[in-house]
């Protein structure tokens, strides 16, 4: 479990996060939702230490991430997998080398063991025989799947996904969402996912935090989100033509 407690983040004079507190639960897909510019990506970057918080605590199963030095953070980061918005695969490496990279850096496994692990995670994301493809040869959905495979190659305790289905068609986005959900439940990972896609929220949102203008505005899950009286959340949820028609 990851706990964010009273997080404040400022960029110069501008306060981007205001007193955000939330518990991200183990074995569940925890979603951070909100409009573009609401502060959800900043919150995620604070959680993984790419931004330093100005106030507050971030606890990884009770371990205060904010008070750790570089070496201690490096140890925690070995337990973290992250799926970036554009995949962030290394251009100079093929699929197999990308997935093998964390194994090369942080384990002393033999080449055979590493290849076995690569094949296992590739099979898990339904990408068998893609080992030798270069990243330039992959489609958007394949890039996301390889990125997931790389993120889970080290058996992470915590999985962060920054808008994993952006730029994908609805069908492929659904496949990626369900893959993340399955992996989360199968390996009992604490998964935190940033999204503004209502399909994702309604299909895999076990635990949802709605961020509005840098503040935690609402918390709930996929079942309660459609019945809330919260005005700003309703505007967000029913903001598209499709959802507003469904509501009517």
């Amino acid at each position: 479990m990851i706990e964010a407690k009273h997080i404040d983040k400022l960029f110069g004079e501008k306060q981007v996060l205001k007193d955000v507190s939330f518990q991200f639960q183990k074995g569940k897909t925890n979603l951070i939702i909100g409009q573009s510019g609401s502060g959800k990506t900043v919150l995620m970057k604070c959680l993984v230490g790419l931004h330093e918080v100005d106030k507050g605590e971030i606890l990884y199963d009770g371990r205060d991430f904010c008070k750790m030095n570089f070496q201690q953070r490096r140890e925690i980061r070995k337990e973290i997998g992250m799926l970036f918005q554009m995949g962030a695969l290394y251009d100079m490496m093929n699929v197999e080398e990308n997935i093998m990279f964390p194994l090369n850096m942080f384990t002393n496994k033999s080449l055979e063991e590493k290849k076995e692990r690569v094949n296992f995670v590739l099979k898990r994301v339904n990408l068998v025989n893609a080992n030798k493809l270069m990243t330039s040869e992959l489609s958007g959905g394949m890039i996301k799947r390889v990125a997931i495979a790389r993120a889970i190659s080290m058996n992470p305790e915590y999985l962060f996904c920054d808008e994993p289905n952006s730029g994908l068609d609805p069908q492929t986005a659904g496949v990626i969402d369900h893959l993340i959900k399955e992996i989360t439940e199968e390996y009992q990972i604490t998964t935190i996912m940033n999204t503004h896609d209502m399909n994702s929220v309604l299909s895999i949102g076990d635990n949802v935090a709605f961020i509005y203008k840098g503040e935690l505005w609402w918390r709930g899950d996929k079942d309660t989100i459609l019945h809330t009286e919260n005005k700003e959340l309703n505007e967000f949820v029913f903001g598209t033509e499709l959802t507003s028609r469904l509501k009517k």
């Binding site: 993984v48 070995k78 973290i80 962030a88 251009d91 990279f101 090369n104």
Partner: protein, 246 residues
């Protein structure tokens, strides 16, 4: 103030770069890869420019010797001195600042804007060390080799031009090459090359690593890398010449 701020950030980045690599095996394989892209891929352009530079310097010297009191062997002497002391280490380093520097800055800059560097950091990898140290190590090791090659090629170019144009005979040219030759000239050139290689790799790595934004900013970082590397090479050329030759 801005230049102090930039210098401070450069120093802080270099502190992160000069750390022990997390896996020596991976580091050494990266260095060998960089030998290829920084060194082997530059051999053609270095050889081409050196041959023509040597030829031009030899022809200009030959045409400017009008006094019968000055022996034609001076062409070989002048070509050797100009090439070894100045043209090869400085001009070729400037060429490499353009070729290698822009490549380093755009490669690292693209990795920054496509979140590949963030991905390294999240994994717990010291990204500055992982990305810049192999390039820096390869550059300071391979650039002196390139400059040595350049010295040979430029003298060969000078000799070729003289023989083809019948301005100076081969024995005269070789006599000139041997006049008052001091091996320190070569060491002086290689010491300068070492510093220039450090400047090219570290400054380009810095501008690439500091890139924020998108494709436009990657292009700007690449330009800045070449401009600042070139300026620093020129400035350090003066400083090192003053320190080493006086």
């Amino acid at each position: 103030m801005k230049i102090l701020h930039t210098t401070g950030r450069y120093v802080l980045l270099m502190r992160r770069v000069f750390a022990r690599p997390q896996k020596m095996k991976i580091f050494s394989s990266q260095v060998f890869t960089e030998f290829e892209s920084i060194g082997l891929d530059s051999i053609g352009i270095v050889a081409f420019i050196s041959v023509f530079m040597g030829a031009v310097v030899a022809i200009q010297t030959a045409y400017n010797i009008s006094s019968p009191l000055i022996p034609m062997s001076m062409v070989g002497f002048t070509t050797r001195q100009s090439m070894i002391l100045e043209f090869c280490p400085t001009v070729i380093s400037l060429i490499l600042a353009g070729k290698v520097g822009s490549r380093i800055a755009s490669e690292i800059g693209t990795m920054r804007v496509t979140e590949q560097i963030d991905a390294l950091e999240i994994m717990g990898v010291n990204s500055a060390n992982f990305l810049i140290l192999p390039k820096l190590t390869a550059a300071v090791l391979i650039n002196p080799v390139l400059i040595t090659l350049s010295m040979w090629m430029s003298i060969l170019g000078g000799w070729g031009a003289m023989v083809l144009s019948n301005l100076v005979t081969t024995p005269e040219f070789i006599t000139g090459l041997r006049v008052d030759f001091q091996i320190f000239s070569v060491f002086y050139a290689l010491i300068k090359t070492f510093f220039f290689a450090f400047i090219i790799a570290s400054v380009s790595g810095f501008f690439g690593y500091e890139t924020q934004g998108g494709a436009l900013q990657v292009g700007q970082a690449s330009t800045k890398a070449v401009v600042f590397s070139s300026i620093l090479i020129i400035v350090f050329n003066l400083i090192l010449t003053k320190l080493l030759l006086t």
